[in-house]
Symmetry: C2
Subunit: 96 residues, 2 copies
């Protein structure tokens, strides 16, 4: 009897993690390289705790990782080529 829904859980979680304007924006910024929270704050219109929450969700979803850099914390994509491909796809289809 057919395919099990289980197979789609991971992909659904992945897409869900990306399905927020702020998070999409963050990921798109990170697609061009590692950035610290402060940089991100300048690019994204949201306050600090909100950005931090979104970053934490992205990290939990396995999309980004982070490294302490002196006083600052920098975030980067765990799979940059993959994300680039996804964003190119979205752009090609006029979704961004």
């Amino acid at each position: 009897m057919a395919i099990v829904k289980y197979n789609y859980l991971n992909a659904a979680k992945f897409l869900k993690a990306l399905s927020h304007p702020t998070r999409l924006m963050i990921v798109n910024e990170l697609a061009s390289g590692k950035k610290c929270v402060n940089d991100i704050k300048e690019l994204v219109q949201a306050n600090q705790p909100n950005i931090s929450q979104h970053l934490s969700l992205l990290k939990l979803s396995g999309i980004v990782d982070s490294r302490q850099n002196g006083k600052m914390k920098c975030y980067f994509l765990k799979d940059e080529p993959m994300m680039r491909e996804l964003f190119n796809n979205l752009k090609k289809n006029k979704l961004i």
Copy 2:
């Protein structure tokens, strides 16, 4: 001052519409061609109203469209090549 979040709204909505296991499954099935609700019901483990709700959301999001076919209603992807590409991407990256 940076890029506006507005630009990401459409893409976020699109991804959100896809970010549910049942809907992903439905869309993946439709990627190989038009299917009637009954066919979909056989493939997806969910009851009829639930499937109908998900289909309606997909339609509102502009991802699918439908055509009455006698007593039945058939759903199809509005942009099949695009979805195929997206799913190939997900498969390539072991997300499905």
